[in-house]
Symmetry: C2
Subunit: 397 residues, 2 copies
């Protein structure tokens, strides 16, 4: 049957994280491997109330087929939030509701990428994006990110002899590294890519999850006609509804809409109604603040534990928000080897290799702090440090 498959399905790996997570379903394992929002903050009761109001108010409307753009009042809500939070004006007519940001990535790739087209991607980069884009067989141009954002000189070099169609970024509390782009970094990037035939994809699911520092203007501020802004309700309300969006200029929007129609007609209508009803009758800012406070404390606990338990030659990032931090082992030690030791000590994380498209750095790793409380974080990091000591043959600390 191999002959039946399209070329695009060659070399696409199964999700490495999914494979890893299968190992880690054991309840006794402390997991820093997940990428999930903390379910303690799901507004279950408020969503139940919203759902009942939706049935009462909208009867069969919320259950019938609907339009491909998404529920207009929900797009109006998103438009208003852009104005209110970032002072930017995006018409609801330029907002397309998607099945989470993952579908946004698929649709954008679908309308732009021919086999062999160049795509600039962060190194390390978001796995879901690497997977979605890979199916369209682009050539990735990887540009490293560090504490301030993208490496500008590497970007400039890469652009020298390339004509990338797309540049993919997660500028706030990046997955996997936790780093954020500074305003200066964004401005420099805009200077380099502005005016090119290149779409800048700003994937921003964690934006609201800032626990320190000041917000930075969107790329849209610098490159309004080239920026596609992606957003999601998964991290601030619930992920199970699969509701995200793309804000796109007219010409792009029109093609995205055709691709959306062809891909699945429209996003689940019912959950769009429920989410909107929830958003209109609850204080979402207060809700997010609760999440952010806890995530901030957990991140802090993780960093302190790392500083306390790990040898000084293990480095890690200091995120201002989001759900992840990123570490690196010294002396080229393999994080996959550490993973194998760690499983035995009942703690898991994600080794860094799958986050790279070109130069794989086998010593890096990702830690999630959103789903583990401070006590477990301290215990888990301590176990990790023991696993590292096992590996180096230095025995338990």
């Amino acid at each position: 049957m191999e002959a039946i498959f399209s070329d695009r399905m060659r070399d696409v790996p199964r999700s490495f994280i999914r494979e890893i997570l299968k190992v880690t379903m054991d309840r006794n394992i402390i997991s820093f491997a997940g990428g999930l929002p903390n379910r303690l903050f799901f507004p279950t009761e408020q969503l139940r109330e919203a759902t009942n109001r939706v049935f009462q108010l909208y009867g069969t409307d919320c259950l019938q087929y609907s339009n491909s753009e998404g529920l207009l009042p929900l797009r109006e809500y998103i438009s208003e939030r852009y104005h209110h939070e970032q002072g930017i004006t995006i018409s609801p007519a330029n907002i397309l509701i998607t099945n989470g940001s993952q579908q946004a990535l698929d649709l954008i790739a679908k309308i732009t990428i021919n086999r062999g087209d160049q795509v600039i991607i962060e190194e390390p980069g978001y796995l879901g994006a690497i997977q979605a884009l890979s199916l369209y067989r682009p050539r990735f141009i990887a540009v490293p990110v560090s504490a301030c954002g993208m490496d500008i000189s590497r970007l400039a070099d890469s652009l020298g002899d390339a004509q990338p169609k797309m540049m993919y970024t997660v500028p706030n509390f990046q997955n996997p590294s936790g780093i954020s782009y500074t305003a200066q970094n964004k401005k420099s990037i805009a200077g380099l890519v502005g005016g090119r035939k290149l779409l800048l994809v700003e994937d921003d699911p964690y934006r609201a999850l800032r626990f320190q520092g000041e917000p930075v203007p969107s790329f849209y501020h610098y490159l309004p006609s080239q920026t596609l802004m992606l957003g999601s309700f998964s991290k601030v309300v619930v992920p199970g509804f699969r509701l995200g969006w793309i804000a796109a200029p007219d010409a792009i929007y029109e093609k995205l809409l055709i691709a959306k129609q062809a891909s699945d007609l429209h996003t689940c209508n019912f959950t769009q109604y429920v989410l909107l009803e929830y958003l209109l009758h609850n204080n979402i800012d207060a809700h997010v603040k609760k999440i952010v406070t806890v995530y901030g404390n957990q991140c802090q606990a993780m960093i302190e534990s790392i500083e306390r338990s790990f040898p000084g030659d293990v480095s890690c990032t200091r995120p201002d928000g989001g759900m992840f931090l990123w570490g690196e082992l010294p002396d080229g030690l393999s994080s996959l080897a550490l993973f194998e030791r760690a499983v035995k000590r009942q703690v898991v994380f994600v080794p860094g290799e799958p986050f790279y498209t070109t130069d794989r750095r086998a010593s890096t790793f990702r830690l999630n702090f959103s789903c583990v409380d401070e006590t477990l974080i301290r215990e888990g990091v301590s176990r990790l440090a023991d696993a590292l000591a096992d590996m180096r043959g230095t025995g338990p600390r």
Copy 2:
């Protein structure tokens, strides 16, 4: 910006039906143009109850990220229905939940079609499939369908010098024509395509909507290793949840799952729980029987009205189920010209042209009978007959 788009977005038309439907939002217009299930039969109150039970029983589980395969107990339910209704054994591990059948089509095309690959499609064929597949740029081989199913000699001719990878069929109460494949027709098709490197896609959303005649075995019965069975809850419960599925052999399933992950991670988790809860606590057979009785009466009313009001040289199909019938005007009269006259007389339908991939027959048209009651059907068909008389210059009947 045109240079930014992928080749696959060239020549993809906006949905013709969407464009037409924009003209027909006027409440005074009698519409035979829709393709919607009748909202009178949406089990709104039962779904509200199911939703409240889901919140109570599954709390945050129904709101968190989930697996790409879909909710296991829902897949078990579907597996049991295959056994119960058709006597065929499909493991839940071979069932993938999709955002409606439309996504099933996109995923299947994604994993199989390279540009230029041949795909056998019915003529006339389902618009949503034409649109989904077109984005992967296949070469369509159109084979006509008529009262008994596919034209076997045309199929045999087409296969002579072709190596199609896929054959797309809607064997029960086909959209748009309303025709069904007989068992003999399926057997002949299986004889022709069996053993080839070809996947037979059996898209079967209307199967349960049979109001006369006997069910026919699935293609799976004849070609288990080559058949992908598509199903949907849109026509028997509600379409707004966007829940459908693919049943596929192991090797195909594995690739579909990768494509599903890359496309949107997973289908909305919450509505899968709600639907399952509804299915487990309600008599779905009794529910479907109510729908079928009404659709059958409405279909009958439409056929009788056509026989009474239309000139004898207008032909139409006699569906045994589903939501559509298909007509043809005599003497090569244009159904698009009839559409323009019909709008003036406040009645609309869908002209047949967009349902063809090759030889467009401009005299055909599709009528929907699921959403219009018998009185309106009689009035609408009478108006249509007047519009036809206008067009022929014979004056009102």
